[in-house]
């Protein structure tokens, strides 16, 4: 190894390179934002397995931003979206979020990250004090846990515990009517799958105490082959099956379970079925799968919702996803708050946003509310229905009751020590 001893060269050239690197990093910083437009930064997942969801978030945001800009902008300032890929890595999400604020001069942030990425961006919001709306993370703790709470961060995504309460009570009613006592579960083996399944069975048993879980399967996330899971469930002979598999996992699972004619042998409750990303991809969508609504243009059954779904389809040539409505709602809320505050300043928007109720196509009663005490969205359309193999896929959705949700949510928070 004589080369490492070559005097000088390696260090000198390295320092030169580092200098050059520093210059090129600093350069874009010089080009500061124009005062008139307001930049909104948005880290999201645009590559990898869930890129489709990130893209659908971007589409929905752009659709709404166009409307806001056409109507005069955010308190008179035109919105310019700066959307960057985080690759679904939390450290990248944190970096991108910091860069958006520090380098690109974004004054507001929409965090369209899933799970751990959202918590990483949340820390950036805590650190920089920038206004931030989480649009995709459904993890209840993000807003329910008072340790997480900061005055400048909000969430416009559905919340895991809301879904479980509605799903549990819906499933319990059917279990009682049809006498379904023996249940099996099959959910992906990570925090979302484990937590959601535990909460669902908690509420299912609460409303129907005679229910018994006789088999549990935990396939890996993004597992390609479900044969052993399907046969295990068939051998256990349950009367009903719960699953919170989603996206590609759910569609491959259904395609493979169809080979064993599984859906004729038991009632299936798949919370993530009624989303176009799953509905339109499954080869033979079985009739009668129970599912929670993710996004579907026929629920809520209002002309506003149908028009929004069609407008999205017309512009992007595909149907919106669950993430789409959540992101669109963020822009709608920001626009309304900015109008009320007559300012695009993050602090003022945050003040007005607390407890703000707006008209919204995705509201259970035509409105949604940003709850003041824990900064999370409530009053959005949430319900369960059964599938048919062709459009509209889920013809009738039974809406969940928000009064029950609020009661049980308060109880759940207490049991977790959050209140």
């Amino acid at each position: 190894m004589t080369r490492t001893r070559t005097p000088g060269i390696s260090r000198r050239s390295t320092l030169a390179l580092m200098g050059a690197g520093a210059m090129s990093v600093a350069a874009p910083w010089v080009a500061r934002a124009q005062a008139k437009t307001i930049k909104i930064g948005m880290p999201t997942i645009l590559s990898g397995r869930v890129a489709q969801l990130g893209t659908s978030s971007r589409n929905a945001v752009m659709l709404e931003v166009e409307k806001v800009n056409a109507a005069g902008g955010l308190a008179g300032r035109q919105i310019e979206m700066v959307i960057r890929d985080s690759k679904g890595q939390p450290q990248e999400a944190a970096r991108v979020a910091r860069e958006l604020v520090n380098t690109d001069g974004c004054e507001l942030v929409i965090d369209a990250e899933a799970s751990s990425g959202a918590f990483a961006v949340h820390e950036v919001a805590r650190d920089l004090g920038v206004f931030c709306i989480h649009t995709n993370s459904e993890t209840s703790a993000l807003t329910a846990d008072p340790k997480q709470r900061i005055p400048n961060a909000f969430r416009t995504a559905r919340q895991g515990v809301h879904d479980s309460i509605v799903g549990g009570s819906y499933a319990a009613a059917i279990a009682k009517a049809k006498g379904l006592k023996k249940w099996a579960t099959c959910s992906p083996d990570y925090a979302y799958g484990r937590d959601t399944t535990a909460e669902f069975t908690l509420y299912l048993k609460r409303f129907a105490p005679e229910v018994e879980i006789i088999s549990e399967s935990w396939p890996k996330l993004f597992q390609p082959d479900y044969t052993e899971v399907v046969t295990k469930i068939l051998q256990a002979k349950p009367q009903a099956l719960y699953s919170c598999l989603w996206g590609g996992d759910l569609t491959s699972y259904i395609d493979q379970a169809n080979i064993y004619a599984m859906f004729g042998q038991m009632e299936v409750f798949a919370v993530n079925m009624a989303d176009y990303t799953a509905l339109t991809v499954v080869k033979n969508l079985p009739k009668g799968i129970h599912s929670g609504n993710r996004y579907i243009k026929t629920f809520p059954t209002t002309p506003e919702n149908a028009a929004w779904g069609d407008a999205y389809k017309a512009k992007f040539n595909e149907y919106p996803t669950n993430w789409s409505w959540e992101n669109a709602t963020a822009i709608m809320l920001m626009a309304e708050a900015a109008k009320k505050a007559n300012s695009a300043d993050g602090k003022k928007i945050a003040e007005v946003l607390k407890g703000l109720t707006i008209k919204c196509p995705f509201g259970a009663d035509g409105t949604v509310t940003m709850r003041g005490d824990d900064h999370t969205l409530v009053g959005y359309a949430i319900g369960w229905g059964t599938t048919i193999p062709q459009e509209p896929y889920v013809p009738e959705v039974k809406a969940g009751d928000w009064k029950t949700i609020f009661e049980l949510e308060a109880e759940w928070k207490k049991s977790k020590g959050y209140t």
Binding site: M1, R3, S10, R11, A22, K87, Q89, N102, A120, A191
Partner: protein
């Protein structure tokens, strides 16, 4: 000291004094580099630039420590990222659960990493080449799976939430951006200097001999297993330091830090910068982060761009950038002397 080294010592007195001189020069360069980096906030208000250097510190420590294994000892570890993750998680958990002063958590994390690295290393370094690579990868996946499934302790796939507390110590407040920046720079420079000393020490040359011909080293009386294990643990400590810097930067720890992709990035950085010079991985780090940051600004198809760059380095240059520059310089000098 082995008998061979003892015998050599007498004839190598001039070389020894040269080594001492070189050590002084290394320290001097380190001091200058630190002074330049630390004074950067005085000249620019760019937080992005400071963020960039902090991330360079984290990845640079990690990649250079990997080069101690890959470049100097010939141990191609595919699981080095486990120590990056271990550092981040240990530090974050100690700070969150025990609330001890930061230096105590720092030292405790290094101790934990040393214990893990000794156990894992004792099993791995007996193996060679592809077997070593895969067993390290297996241990990495074991640690990653443990982080995922021990959700009550580690937060599972959501990571360590709620931020890492940073109590002030010795007047240093790590929640202050500039303080964090200067501390990261100091850790980077100290880490690099320490690794440089390891690489240039007799032990470092023993490692090179093991890489080039382990059987020969063994016949010369060197305990190959012990030397490999020592460097494995040392490299793990510096990777763990990198992980701690990263944990402070993002104020959390996430399972991705212990995933194989981090190890992959380390290998890629080494390929980019070159493994035959000490600062090669550092150059690779700056290159990769610059590339990553600029490419993701313009396109979400960054995978294609990075792929083309890898192909360019692997097929075009056939070596890392700094290797290429060093060879080109040496070649120029040789031809210059001939004239």
């Amino acid at each position: 000291m082995t008998e061979l080294e003892a015998g050599r010592a007498q004839t190598l007195v001039p070389v020894r004094s040269g080594a001492v001189l070189q050590r002084y020069r290394d320290v001097l360069i380190a001091l200058i580099a630190f002074a330049v980096l630390a004074s950067l906030p005085l000249f620019t208000g760019s937080k992005a630039l400071l963020d960039f250097v902090i991330r360079c510190s984290a990845y640079g420590l990690f990649a250079t420590s990997l080069n101690l294994l890959v470049g100097y000892t010939g141990l191609t570890s595919f699981g080095h990222g486990m120590f990056f993750g271990l550092g981040a998680y240990s530090f974050g958990l100690i700070m969150q659960k025990l609330g001890v002063p930061i230096p105590a958590a720092f030292v405790a994390t290094l101790a934990i990493t040393a214990v893990f690295a000794t156990i894992i290393g004792a099993i791995c370094v007996r193996l060679k080449e592809i077997y070593f690579a895969f067993v390290t990868l297996a241990f990495q996946m074991l640690i990653h799976s443990t982080i995922l499934s021990w959700a009550s302790f580690t937060g599972g796939d959501q990571g360590l939430r709620g931020g890492i507390p940073r109590p002030v110590f010795l007047g240093i407040d790590l929640s202050n951006h500039v303080h964090l920046y200067v501390t990261s720079c100091a850790l980077l420079i100290l880490g690099l200097l320490a690794m440089r000393q390891i690489a240039q020490s007799p032990f470092g040359y023993t490692l090179r001999m093991i890489r080039d011909n382990a059987a020969r080293a063994s016949f010369l009386g060197i305990d190959v297993w012990r030397a490999k294990l020592t460097v494995f643990v040392l490299a793990a400590l510096f990777a763990s330091m990198g992980g701690m810097v990263m944990a402070l930067f993002v104020s959390g720890a996430y399972p991705e830090f212990a995933y194989w992709t981090i190890s992959g990035e380390g290998i890629f950085i080494n390929m980019l910068g070159g493994v035959s010079t000490f600062l090669g991985p550092m150059v690779g780090t700056v290159l990769l982060l610059l590339l990553n940051d600029t490419v993701t600004r313009f396109t979400e198809y960054h995978g294609i761009v990075l792929g083309v760059v890898i192909l360019f380095f692997a097929l075009g240059l056939r070596k890392g950038l700094l290797d290429f520059v060093a060879e080109w310089y040496a070649h120029r000098r040789e031809t210059g002397e001939e004239r």
